[in-house]
Symmetry: C2
Subunit: 228 residues, 2 copies
C-alpha cells in the first residue's frame, strides 16, 4: 500500500485536506525495526514523534535497580512520543519494539508548520493526547488505589471488552510484559494467576484465558475487598 493511503487510514489524519496528506507524505520517515529495538530512551532529545504502522511498541520507564513500568503498548495507527513536540524538553520515557515493527517518524518542525495550517490535524492530535491522559489516569488509579489482583482483573475485563470476547481473552503480550504493565514482577503475577485459577475465576491455557466468573472479576476490578 502507498504511504499516502496508509496515512489516510490513521485516526490522527482523519478529515485532513488531500493537500495536507500529501505534505505529510513528503515529510514522513518510513522505518522498519526488528524486535527489541530501542526507538528512543527517556531523557533523549526529541526531534519529532512516531506512529506505529504495523507491529507493537512499548513505552516504559526503568528504576535505577532495573524494575520496569510500562506506560502503554502502542499498536497499528497509534501515535507515541508526542510530549516533547508540544511541551518542549526531552522524552519522559523510553520506547522499544516488542516485535518487528514498521514505524512512521514525523519531524517536529515540518509537522508543527502543518498543524498551524490545518485545524483538523490539531483537533485529532488533541483527541490522541486526551485519550493518553485518560489511559495514564487509569494506570495511576490502578497503581495507587488497587492491589495487583484487582489490576489484573481490570486488565482482563478491559481486553475482553476491547476484543468483544466476553468469555475468553487472548493476551497480546508476554506474561513478563503483562507483569510490568501491572506494576509487579512475573513471580507475583504467576502466583495470582494460579490463585484465580484454583478459585474457579479463570482457566489459563498459554496466552488464552477463559473468564469463568466474569461477575466476580468485574467486582474485583473495582478495587474493593476480594478473596485473597
Amino acid at each position: 500500500m502507498r504511504i499516502r493511503d496508509l496515512m489516510g487510514q490513521m485516526p490522527l489524519f482523519h478529515g485532513l485536506q488531500e493537500q495536507h496528506l500529501e505534505e505529510l507524505t513528503d515529510i514522513v520517515v518510513d522505518q522498519t525495526l526488528g524486535r527489541g529495538q530501542t526507538i528512543f530512551s527517556g531523557g533523549d532529545e526529541a526531534s519529532g514523534f512516531y506512529v506505529v504502522v504495523s507491529g507493537k511498541v512499548k513505552v516504559f520507564m526503568l528504576s535505577p535497580d532495573g524494575k520496569e513500568q510500562i506506560l502503554h503498548i502502542f499498536g497499528p495507527g497509534e501515535a507515541f512520543g508526542e510530549v516533547p513536540m508540544f511541551a518542549g524538553g526531552h522524552f519522559p520515557a523510553s520506547a522499544e519494539t516488542l516485535e518487528k515493527s514498521r514505524i512512521f517518524f514525523f519531524p517536529r518542525r515540518d509537522f508543527l508548520a502543518l498543524l498551524h495550517k490545518d485545524p483538523s490535524l490539531a483537533v485529532n492530535m488533541l483527541a490522541t493526547l486526551s485519550r493518553m491522559l485518560r489511559q495514564l489516569t487509569r494506570l495511576i488509579e490502578n497503581l495507587s488505589l488497587k492491589e495487583v489482583p484487582s489490576r489484573l482483573a481490570a486488565y482482563l475485563i478491559f481486553l475482553s471488552d476491547r476484543d468483544k470476547t466476553p468469555e475468553e481473552v487472548e493476551l497480546d503480550i508476554a506474561k513478563g510484559q503483562l507483569a510490568s504493565l501491572l506494576g509487579t514482577i512475573p513471580e507475583t503475577l504467576s502466583r495470582i494467576l494460579n490463585k484465580m485459577s484454583s478459585q474457579g475465576l479463570i482457566e489459563v491455557q498459554g496466552r488464552r484465558i477463559r473468564l469463568l466468573d466474569r461477575q466476580t472479576l468485574a467486582e474485583m476490578s473495582e478495587g474493593g475487598k476480594f478473596l485473597f
Copy 2:
C-alpha cells in the same frame, strides 16, 4: 481586572487574535467557589473544561475504601478537566477547591468551534495537555518505581527548583494533601519526615522545610538505595 484582560494573561490564550479573545469572553462562565467545593466528580458527564483564575484546585481519585490519590494541584492560569472535551466520555477524576477559588468554565461546543478557527488556540492546548502527560508520567514513575521517601525527596527538590529557593521550601498544601499526592497516608509521611529530620537531611517548622543536605536529597529523589 476585566475578564478579557485576565484571559489575555493565561498561557492557554497567548498569541490569540483579539477577535477570538473577545469571543472567549462572550462564552466564559465566571464562578467563585468556597473552600472544599466539588467542581465535578469522576464519572460525571462533561459539558466543558475549566481554568483556575485564582485559588487552588485538586484533581484526584478515590478508592472504594476512601483512599485518595491526587493527580495534580492546579493554580492560577492552569486548565483542568479537558480530557472529555477531545476524547469524549466522562471525567476520569474528580475536582475540588482547596481554598476559595475563582474559576472560568468554557462550554464545550463554543470552545471547539473557536478551536477550529484559531490554530494558536489548538497549539496552546496541545502544549497544556502535553505538560499534563509529562506530569502524570512522573507521577507513575514515583508511584511504581520509587519508595515513599524518594517521592518525598523528589517533591522537595521540585518545590525548591520551582520556587527558586535552594535552601528552604514552603509547602503550599496541607500535610494530609501532601500524603495523598505522594500516594501514602499522613502517618507514614510524618514518620518519614521525622526520620529525615533525625538524619539531618531536613528541618521542619510547620509548613517550612529547610533542606539541610540537598545533595543527599537529590540522590534519594532518583529512587536509588537510601538509608531507611
